[in-house]
């Protein structure tokens, strides 16, 4: 067959006219455009695969330094000794077999004007559209006394990996009677119900393995996700074992002293046998380098296209982005990524992207066989993603044990479904 490909046609067209007529769009190199996705988590991997599914002709490169993905959802169960760490790990093999080019390297600089990403292995990737899905970084200057070295003594375990196992080992090594102290940051941060699920499961571990021990949760907030459900469950399961100290009760941690494993508030000092400091966070490092993060450390985006409000042709999705009412969760990242893929596929075809509604669901375990959930629906409104009223909701407050057990099963199904879709 001697059909002239579009690419060839364009090249001929370019050759036949003044070269300067075309500002060398990447379309000349690939018929459907080039997309680079930075970050291979729930947002990035979903978006990369989604683009390939929508239009296999789009060239998609996923930039990710790790060859194995370690999932954060359910990692609290690993910490509490209820789950094998390997169950958190996923390979990118299936992502690659969908035609996504994997670049196992870290993005080192982004040239927004020249539309290129430089990698730490020396490669440079050109793009028509760039998707940044870098997740979170710890704000190392956000809590006096807390730095990388301190995190080895007082793990955050807020990015799944070695930190998860470190916290588990510390809990295992602790004597019965030891006091565990956790701290939870002010909003916004990754996984709003996460600290409270973790507190619940650590309390479960203490109750079953170290019943003389106690858990104190120091909080920089007075209110949190699924609060009444958690607090009811704590009363029911962990009375006298788990103490939550709210902001208005002086719970905000202002400083940590790693040498003595001490958390300091404005009104008290808490020396811990095991300390889990969940520190303030910001968008992953590359967001700042790309110039898409604002003074809050997070990335403002258009609520329809997720294109950065600070740089054109760069979209930001997942935990790094400011998504209005939508929480920083794996499901939200997955939902945003699908929308973003559809938007980019449309833009590359020269079409206007359609406005979409997004859904989030999130399950938390307060004990094995005791699950609670929250669901929400969001739509663009006044330049932000806003809650759709009377859609979604939380688990009933007065549900029987059978409902909680069912929701714990749903949580399992949730994890299998989402990781199956993104990595399977």
């Amino acid at each position: 067959m001697t059909r002239t490909s579009r690419r060839e046609f364009l090249r001929k067209a370019v050759a036949g006219t003044a070269v300067t007529l075309f500002p060398l769009p990447a379309i000349a190199q690939n018929s459907a455009g080039r997309v680079v996705v930075v970050g291979g988590g729930f947002a990035g991997a979903t978006c990369a695969r989604g683009l390939k599914k929508l239009d296999p002709r789009i060239s998609v490169t996923l930039v990710e330094p790790n060859r194995t993905f370690t999932a954060c959802p359910f990692s609290n169960s690993v910490i509490a000794g209820l789950r094998d760490f390997d169950a958190q790990k996923f390979s990118y093999d299936k992502v690659a077999s969908d035609g996504v080019e994997m670049a196992f390297a870290a993005a080192s600089t982004i040239d927004a004007r020249g539309r290129g990403v430089a990698l730490d292995n020396g490669a440079r990737l050109a793009y028509d559209r760039l998707v940044l899905a870098p997740g979170i970084d710890i704000r190392w200057d956000g809590l006096p006394g807390y730095n990388e070295a301190a995190a080895e003594r007082m793990p955050h375990a807020w990015k799944a990996g070695d930190q998860t196992l470190l916290l588990r080992r510390q809990l295992e090594a602790m004597d019965d009677g030891g006091v565990v102290v956790m701290s939870s940051p002010a909003n916004p941060f990754r996984c709003p119900p996460g600290p409270y699920e973790r507190a619940s499961l650590i309390a479960h571990y203490l109750k079953t393995r170290k019943p003389k021990s106690k858990l104190i949760v120091l909080d920089a907030k007075d209110a949190f996700s699924k609060q009444r459900l958690f607090q009811n469950a704590w009363k029911e399961l962990y009375l006298g074992l788990l103490e939550w100290v709210s902001l208005s009760s002086g719970g905000k941690v202002t400083e940590v002293e790693p040498a003595s494993n001490t958390l300091v508030t404005d009104f008290n000092r808490y020396q811990a046998a095991v300390a889990n400091v969940i520190p303030p966070q910001k968008a992953g490092r590359i967001a700042e380098l790309a110039g898409v993060a604002d003074q809050t450390g997070w990335c403002p985006v258009d609520p329809v296209t997720f294109e950065s409000k600070r740089q054109t042709n760069i979209h930001v999705i997942g935990d790094a982005a400011i998504m209005g009412a939508m929480p920083k969760s794996a499901f939200a990242a997955n939902a945003q990524a699908k929308t973003c893929a559809a938007v980019i596929a449309a833009l590359l075809r020269g079409q206007a992207p359609a406005e979409q509604k997004l859904i989030n669901t999130c399950y938390s375990l307060v004990a094995p066989g005791y699950g609670i959930s929250v669901a929400g629906v969001y739509r663009p409104k006044d330049g932000q993603l806003a809650d759709v009223e009377n859609a979604g909701g939380v688990s009933p407050l007065d549900a029987p044990a059978a409902t909680r057990a069912l929701e714990a099963n749903f949580a399992d199904g949730w994890f299998k479904t989402i990781t199956g879709e993104v990595f399977g």
């Binding site: 007075d222 902001l247 208005s248 009760s249 002086g250 404005d266 009104f267």
Partner: protein, 107 residues
């Protein structure tokens, strides 16, 4: 109405040392600018005044207004002069009052 109060004062200080004092009280600080579900205005209910006395002498005073957040947290400095009592008093709408006191030893 009882309110939960928290204060922080060093137990000991040197004479002449500048010390940090912190005080927090749980209070809704209802502004008076909001409406309930039926459209009726919610009456203002705020703390209007905070005073700190050091052995009976006023060392700090603050007037609070509707723009102050719930659970007001006030931090300030004073000079440690002598051993004794540091008192905190909050007053507000609807006869609200709360008090707390701690001792300080000067070396």
């Amino acid at each position: 109405m009882t309110a939960r109060t928290l204060v922080s004062v060093p137990k000991e200080a040197r004479r002449g040392e500048v010390i940090a004092i912190k005080a927090l009280i749980s209070h809704d600080m209802e502004t008076g600018f909001r409406y309930d579900n039926t459209g009726k205005p919610i009456p203002r209910d705020i703390i209007t005044q905070f005073v700190c006395l050091y052995n009976g002498i006023e060392v700090f005073r603050a007037e609070l207004h509707p723009a102050i957040s719930a659970n007001p947290f006030i931090a300030f400095y004073t000079v440690a002069t002598e051993s004794g009592k540091i008192e905190f008093k909050w007053n507000g709408d609807n006869g609200f009052s709360a008090a707390e006191s701690v001792t300080i030893a000067i070396a």
